[in-house]
């Protein structure tokens, strides 16, 4: 008989959380702390969603999305997780750009960028100050029609080198492009510029282990390999239960950390929703996906410090279509040194590129295998200039594609950065359509990335708490 992964699960909970990305984990933990009974269901065999890792022969551990979140993560981890988790966050000081237009190192904060923009790029100081202040002032309620391209054009007309410096890292971080609303850029960029780029010492596996321990202390019931097939609603459209691994589990509320469109169109089903809302959901654009190449050096071998994050491009100017193209000319290298996992002696490199699902989804098995090998070969060729003799020194090399991301996260089209801006409105309005059903996950670009996901988990947990708290008796 197959193992029952739901063994010991009760028939009823206050809240069921579907999916264990950082938003799902944080919502589950926040609600358990508030005193609710919470069941967390994850289809995969480990928690974390895109905050994940994998192990390979000879003890290599590869992180998927560890390098590069803003300082705000320290405060959010302290408030919504534990001091120990917050204390493990460390700065990555070597952010590097290598492209036909410029070659430079930076700590990626406002002070250093002001220096670079004035000294290297010859931008007047008052323009730089005005740009930073304008980005800083942006918030969700501002004009949503100005694009990032128009925003840059106001301050740096005709300067595609400046645009590249300002945009390339944000595209790496959240998949956004120059056509996305300027406010999404302003909010995310300002978050990074406050103090720079940070990572988690100990690796993603350690972070998720600590989060799991904290959830268990707060009483969250956690089950892996448990796929939610359906969210059950009654005639008034109220959430009644979820169906997972063929079993019904009753609940008062659901937080779905699954993809927004799948939550609404598949798990609930359009027959339970207003036509307009279904149309609006269908119109939400998913963000792009990624390819990655993972390279581990032989145990005992290492390389000199070449920076932590390196934005490499052979393309002239910032060109989003070129960045998505199978004909790769832009790559971001994350270099992992032994000190990121205290006690380890390993040097690893993860190369990331933005990618389109449709470029990978329809290949024959043979074409797919060959394309992956080509991705590996061109990546190693490129890496050779930073880590000489890499082919001989590599102990393990493998690649992932949008199809890989789809398989492990179940996100449509392997979307690795959630949805475009309009997804946020649909996510926020879902509880008005289906009372008791909430969505928390990467949406709208601003609620994406590690910090966005954690904070959105809290914001949604607050809404759930509001929904479940009976109104006070007025006398």
């Amino acid at each position: 008989m197959p193992k029952d992964f739901l063994k010991g699960v009760r028939d009823r909970y206050d809240v069921v959380v579907i999916g264990s990305g950082l938003a799902g984990l944080t919502a589950a933990n926040t609600l358990a702390r508030a005193g609710y009974s919470v069941l967390l269901l994850e289809h995969h065999y480990q928690l974390g969603g895109m905050a994940t890792w994998f192990k390979r022969r000879h003890g290599h551990i590869f992180d998927i999305s560890l390098h590069g979140f803003p300082y705000g993560m320290v405060k959010s981890c302290r408030k919504y997780w534990t001091q120990e988790i917050a204390d493990s966050i460390v700065q990555l000081k070597g952010i590097r750009f290598e492209n036909p237009q410029f070659s430079l190192w930076t700590t990626f904060n406002r002070e250093d960028f002001t220096r670079i923009l004035t000294e290297r790029f010859g931008i007047p100081r008052e323009t730089v100050v005005a740009f930073f202040d304008a980005a800083r002032r942006m918030n969700f309620y501002d004009d949503q029609h100005t694009t990032t391209r128009e925003f840059f054009e106001q301050f740096f007309p005709g300067r595609d080198d400046v645009v590249r410096l300002l945009m390339e890292p944000i595209t790496y971080a959240n998949g956004s492009s120059l056509e996305d609303p300027a406010i999404t850029y302003g909010i995310v960029f300002s978050n990074f510029m406050s103090k720079g780029v940070f990572t988690f010492r100990g690796g993603t596996d350690q972070l998720i282990r600590l989060m799991r321990a904290e959830m268990e202390r707060n009483g969250v019931e956690i089950r892996i390999r448990s796929l939610v097939e359906r969210i059950e609603v009654d005639a008034q459209r109220r959430v009644r239960a979820v169906w997972a691994n063929g079993r019904r589990i009753a609940c008062r509320a659901v937080v779905s950390n699954a993809n927004l469109k799948q939550t609404i169109l598949e798990l609930v089903g359009e027959q339970h929703l207003d036509r307009d809302f279904v149309d609006e959901t269908r119109a939400v654009r998913l963000n792009s996906s990624s390819c990655q190449v993972y390279i581990a050096l032989k145990p005992g071998d290492g390389f000199d410090y070449v920076g932590d994050l390196l934005f490499h491009s052979e393309h002239r100017g910032f060109d989003f279509d070129a960045m998505l193209s199978r004909n790769i000319s832009s790559r971001t290298f994350s270099f992992y040194y032994p000190d990121i996992r205290p006690g380890s002696d390993r040097y690893l490199i993860v190369s990331s590129t933005n990618a389109r699902y449709e470029d990978w989804a329809h290949l024959s098995p043979e074409e797919y295998r060959r394309s992956k090998q080509d991705l590996i070969d061109t990546t190693l060729d490129c890496l050779e200039q930073y880590v000489p003799d890499i082919r001989r020194r590599a102990d393990h090399v493998e690649a992932s594609t949008p199809c890989t991301f789809q398989r492990y996260t179940r996100h449509w089209r392997g979307a690795s950065f959630g949805t475009k801006f309009e997804g946020l409105k649909v996510s926020k309005e879902l509880p008005q359509q289906v009372p008791g059903l909430f969505h928390a996950g990467s949406v709208g670009i601003i609620m994406s990335g590690w910090l966005g996901a954690v904070n959105y988990g809290v914001i949604v947990a607050n809404e759930v708490d509001k929904y479940l708290t009976p109104a006070p008796v007025r006398v």
Partner: protein, 91 residues
Amino acid sequence: MTRDQIRQVILDILAKIAPDEDLSNLKDDVPFSEQMELDSMDFLDIVMELRKGYRIQIPEEDYQHLTTMESTVTYLEPLLKDVESPAKPAG
């Protein structure tokens, strides 16, 4: 609760949200945000703590009343008038 007791409840919540801030010199008539580093997530935390501790529902349109200590206490006074003061800090 009296105004003084409500003030203490808010102080306890702020101390929990911003443990590194010195709150002993907090001025009641000056916005919180001008005296300490508080972002929108911190205000959300205040609202969540009040709901957890005292079952007070604060609708989003009322967040504007939570600007200074004085305005916050004035806003909460009628909502908390029949509630006992906590024996120890909320949480």
